[in-house]
Symmetry: none
Subunit: 127 residues, 4 copies
DNA sequence: GTGGTCTAGACCACT
DNA sequence: GTGGTCTAGACCACC
């Protein structure tokens, strides 16, 4: 279901967050769906349960998941809405990155064609 | 000349690296120019000399600066070339970010117009 | 595992870098292998943790090791490739040294036989 | 007569030592010849007199020059002999470097042909 | 004065 | 526990 790369510099808990969010955005996880339990997922991914707990906790904060003590963890009703809202925030980070590339002399056309290319890809390619 | 935010999550030495690189790309620092000394800059920014040393050392590794023990630290001859080469590597990171935005439903046109806007800005705005 | 000479003019952190690289080239350390922790090695060698950190950090920069905060430090997948690439750069330094020896009247035959001798040695002798 | 590169990582006093030794080995400076005075050379090269003093002092130690207080600094009688003797010592350094290159997989033939090439060059090329 | 190395010890985020 | 950043302060070689 998920896969973590322990050699990556990206913290494991962030990898999990990213993958859950991706599943939700792709519609592979629907509102109300139950997530695997902390313990089950920790075993499946061979990581510490605390790490899963941290990922689920953060996804709860973001309104993507809803933890129900004693029952489990579920995809929240407006998970997709929350995510889209959140990602919109990241556009300012993109601006920052673009300014640095512009400063380094990367021509506008190169960026534009990269954008075209990405948007021509099949949904979910290589993410 | 430089400014650091000690409360930022970005390490201080990386802030300095980023600012030096920016000055070089903007042409505000030319090849052969002498950098402020490790000690002088550490006092100006109220940080430990070791932190400046680390930043200068990394910039030396990257071929942006040239440290000469006993004499000082200078902008290297092909600093801009080295930087452009290096930034080009970061394009793959941009692709990754674009895929995430696409997945979140941000329309292509919005990205394109953001790119246009950035490239219309005056050199060095708000970086 | 490693040994450092604090009286040497070669900085301790460079000694460590050199020895790690040697182990990797000899195949005594394989991709994916975990390095001793910063603290453990600092105790074993009786040097400051910062010194080990500097060595590991530089080896990470060179693509020989891969540091993963919270998990440890591992030999990277293409460590050997990176090292060979890097060593090839040092051939120009060899040329320089050879010219000086030639100038001092060391005959070509003497150099050639030294080369022969070195390449006849068992792998890793006396390095 | 001499030239120093202040951007080089090689200490200035070592650059001077190297160049004096080279002139002696090439026969461009003969035993008994007088060296430029410390002050004159320091002005010509735009470096601190202390730096010249240090270079001359080391060359005196090595038996290449002979300082006569109040008179000046002269090329010693057996300067060439001393130098050849000294350079012979550096062969062990060469062995060390060769072992590292061997370990990095540089083939013997490549080294051999580099040696051939160097020894075919005109005397003093590019040193 | 300069850059560079090292120690000692603290604190952080991540597992 | 792990790697990583930072401070404080010392010492070195070089100019």
């Amino acid at each position: 279901m998920f896969a973590v790369d322990v050699m990556s510099r990206e913290p494991v808990y962030e990898q999990i967050i990213r993958q859950v969010e991706r599943m939700v955005l792709l519609g592979l996880m629907q509102p109300g769906d139950q997530m695997p339990s902390v313990r089950a997922l920790s075993i499946e991914l061979s990581v510490n349960p605390n790490t899963i707990q941290k990922a689920y906790g953060e996804l709860d904060n973001r309104g993507v998941l809803q933890s129900v003590p004693g029952r489990g963890c579920f995809v929240s009703a407006d998970a997709v809405g929350r995510l889209r809202e959140r990602k919109r925030t990241e556009l300012s980070g993109l601006s920052q990155a673009l300014r640095e590339l512009k400063l380094a002399g990367i021509p506008r056309e190169e960026i534009q064609s990269l954008v075209e290319e990405i948007y021509r890809e099949e949904k979910g390619d290589a993410l």
